[in-house]
Symmetry: C2
Subunit: 305 residues, 2 copies
């Protein structure tokens, strides 16, 4: 099952050089999530042939414009394309008022229902859970309430080892094996030990999205060992004063967080409009964490099982 992240926007507050504001499309085990939804996100989704209409959950990290201003346009497009299924929106307080105010003046009643979920500032909380995965918030340190998101697969079932599987097992017995149970005869005696017929489960993968934040070690314990970390890297160290003033991170700081959290891979983004070329930012992060990539428009990052 795939777990992949497609970058729709890599720009900081002001779009520049064809870079668009923050938005990411995440496909994980047939779930389609949108994380942040900057201006133009609907256009980017279409450009990269992504499943606009399959998105059921949209996670907004905070209410600075470059992280949510594409949402109203996306909602109107879904409406005009006759979406009927519920849409879940997760955000800090205010997004409901922003959306309802705009619907009021456009005299629009959407065809579908929006279910608003309000995030709790400064608290780690599980905001979405099903059989396959959880999404939890990552408290960040920014000018206004801001939360990252951590998507984790749950522990997966053991896998049938087809090379040793005896013939003639019933479907219920196969299910029992997948659930980790032994196969018993009618008297309750073990015929096949589970471990003889199954392989360990595939690993549970995880993705942490951290934007926007100043350097913030409090998040280390929560994101420890994730497969992929996206961390904002608005500035180079030369602009450290500007980073502090605006409560953003430098690329070096993003690298330090990745290194200290011993993640598998680091993606950096949210680049200031002052940088035409991004290699300097990548190089700076790589001084602290080698496996760093630029999270730029149209790039897809796959997490292997």
């Amino acid at each position: 099952m795939s777990f992949k992240i497609t970058i729709l926007g890599s720009s900081g507050a002001v779009p520049a050089y064809g870079r668009m504001p923050s938005a990411q499309f995440v496909e994980v085990q047939n779930h389609y999530f949108l994380i942040d939804c900057g201006e133009g996100a609907q256009i980017q989704l279409t450009k990269y042939n992504l499943y606009l209409h399959r998105i059921d959950h949209i996670f907004i990290s905070h209410l600075h414009g470059d992280h949510y201003l594409g949402l109203m346009g996306l909602l109107f497009t879904l409406h005009l394309n006759r979406r009927a299924t519920d849409l879940h929106l997760y955000s800090h307080k205010g997004l409901d008022e922003i959306i309802i105010t705009q619907l009021k003046y456009s005299k629009s009643a959407l065809n579908f229902k929006i279910i608003f979920h309000t995030l709790t500032p400064g608290v780690q909380e599980i905001i979405y859970e099903d059989k396959q995965l959880t999404v939890e918030t990552i408290p960040l340190s920014h000018k206004i309430n801001c939360s990252g998101f951590l998507i984790r697969e749950k522990e997966k079932p053991r896998r049938i080892d087809k090379t040793v599987l005896p013939e003639g097992l019933a479907y219920t017995q196969i299910l029992a094996l997948k659930a980790g149970e032994d196969i018993l005869d009618e008297n309750g005696n073990v015929i096949h030990k589970n471990q003889m017929l199954t392989l360990p489960p595939r690993k549970s993968r995880s993705y942490a999205y951290c934007s926007d934040t100043q350097y913030y070690e409090n998040l280390l314990s929560q994101i420890k060992g994730v497969d992929v970390l996206y961390h904002e890297a608005t500035f180079t160290t030369e602009e450290k004063d500007k980073a502090d003033e605006t409560m953003h991170s430098t690329a070096a700081e993003a690298g330090m967080i990745a290194s200290k959290a011993t993640v598998g891979r680091l993606l950096i983004g949210h680049f200031s409009a002052r940088y035409k070329e991004l290699t300097l930012l990548r190089n700076e992060a790589m001084q602290h964490f080698a496996n760093t990539s630029l999270a730029v428009e149209g790039e897809t990052f796959q997490i292997e099982e």
Copy 2:
């Protein structure tokens, strides 16, 4: 002095095929106006090297998302780029609440002042006036309150005819000539008749922007004889039912309005996402009004003096 219209977006409600939502940049006698401001307008302005920071007046026809959702992003970009001068916004009731709500949750105080001007529904009114020109509203017929905009140059001064101008005239005498006055001696006797030394003024140009509206003959008298008319043409006649239902116009209807108003030139736009190719729409309008152009992204239409 130039009078030109650059198209930033030609799309109807749903962006498609690279077409963006409605927005136009109008430069007239060193005034820089934005008419409508669909999602991505700031990106389009930058793409076409237009003077983002010179815009002092933004006119929003109505509060459907595809006509104003680019505004917040533009405001934040102007703020981050340290704009200090006032910005005038003209719209039907609600835009102030929409903007103020979003500023509240982003905890942003803009560096510059916004001056909101609320349009009166269903009424022709002059909403901007200075020595060179006026902007007046054009009441349209749409699902919600919607006004077009008519930009008219005022009558211009007569022009000095340099081929016959006597030497030695004082600067005040030149100004008097431009103002249409004769040149007198100290006793009040005419030395030079104005008409002998001047040419008629250049013509006063006009541009009418009509989006969104169903076919609406009430606007004919107001736009009679304008140099350039932009009229929405969301559908072809084959989709006339859809046009009626959504209170939009067909391309044929846009052509009929242009013909009945005997305008100089017709621009059509606001194309439905169902049309990949636009030639059918242009051809349909041209059956009623030959001088029709597609108002598509990046095209600039100049009105000659």
